[in-house]
Symmetry: C2
Subunit: 298 residues, 2 copies
Amino acid sequence: MLDYSALSALAAVVREGSFERAARALHVTPSAISQRIRQLEERVGCALVIREQPCRATDTGRRLCQHVDHVRLLEQELQGALPALAPQGMARVPLPIAVNADSLATWAAPAIASFAAEHPVLMEVAVDDQDYTTEWLRAGAVLAAVTSSARPAPGCNSRPLGAMRYLAAASPAFVRRHFPDGVRAASLSRAPSLVFNAKDDLQARWVRRLCHRHVELPRHTLPSSQAFVTAALAGMGWGMQARELIAAQLAEGSLVELVPDTPLDVPLFWQHARAASAVLDALSREILAAAAASLLQR
Amino acid sequence: MLDYSALSALAAVVREGSFERAARALHVTPSAISQRIRQLEERVGCALVIREQPCRATDTGRRLCQHVDHVRLLEQELQGALPALAPQGMARVPLPIAVNADSLATWAAPAIASFAAEHPVLMEVAVDDQDYTTEWLRAGAVLAAVTSSARPAPGCNSRPLGAMRYLAAASPAFVRRHFPDGVRAASLSRAPSLVFNAKDDLQARWVRRLCHRHVELPRHTLPSSQAFVTAALAGMGWGMQARELIAAQLAEGSLVELVPDTPLDVPLFWQHARAASAVLDALSREILAAAAASLLQR
């Protein structure tokens, strides 16, 4: 079998970001950590850790860390069945998942939080664009992901969650100032838009559907779901806003749709490592229930 | 002088993330972009772009991009003085800054948004931990930053903004369940804490001050200011919450301080590139005014 003391050392370095902090967390010396990882690297035949500030896993290192996380989940299940194995009670195990920012800012956070409050886990939530969270699964960096990709990553199951509805919204003053003659390609090419980050193509997709062609949009970049709403309210730009996040603003009229009734629906999926553990299954149930209550179902 | 068509190509590739999108934005062919960057790399003598998905700048490439941003700001000022230079009106120029997540979720977003609504800029806001935003300045990736570091980065001015107040907070049920005998090192080593990401050491700092020693904390990782509050409300863990973000929850009693009257105040600074431009000065004024109204002043 593999050397699990070395694998634990690797997982600790990647989680903690340094050999010193990993040593402290595992109650050993930094040189013991360093030696275990070197031996593991010799056995695997390639580097597992990029020794930077903070330390990061190589692709191979990430796959090994995912394996450790998975084995820990299975161990925890065993301890549930054989309490004698863990006389001091079950240790919390890391459960790494990836979620898109708007889901985390709305329906997903309460589901994750109420699950975590009742299960012996330590959630490690990574945030990325919904078109990229599957990469985290594929790279072995997480055990489950909320993603826009229906096609299961290797070794994963994929289940539909429903669609997140986005509205192209701005303040009424912004619309009057930048779209006095309506929302057309010419005005869109001058009016500043809001994008979450370079990966966010929702604005471009909405414009392509509206104008039937690509329009080069001036873009403010603002990677915060709250700031995105604040920015729209202050007239900084227009952007695709998660409807759930701006319900109050739409109702009071401080934000309006650029073009009435032109929502963009983004179907989301829950992908999770197939070799099931009871803990991951419980998280899946919470996620699916929260999505069913909040996302658009067909 | 430097070849500014090549520098613009470089900046576009880094901003857009690919040679194809950069070509579309600049209305040239991808091979023209590629050729300009190759020539620039030959002249500088090192790689400027890491050709991945998405493309990223090397350290040297980032410095050149910062230089381009700076020159664009100066050009814009010149156009303000000599309108004949820009008969079609001023083009918006990119203004890259770095801000910590909690500032962006609270006082900084309205300041940035109202500034951006009135100036011909395209904000590129990067989010990082307040202890790391200075690195963005130092690396030349941004022109200004909200940071916890008072010492000016090379070529920058540093101005105090006041302190952001954090409270160690959790739900009353969480406190009863995990701290029945008070908040001590032993209970802290078992009760799950919330951290924003691996860089977030506020929880560890608060515990060190309380217990006068290092305590290894079980940690959930949750990189979203909203989700952080949601998680605390649901009893997922305790964490250092920005007081401004949980004022309502404290007032209604759904969140409480773990130990009454033990705030952690994090002094923040505004650092900006020294060679001033009127636009950057205007942003500085908005940021300083908003901070003065929201952050703790001595």
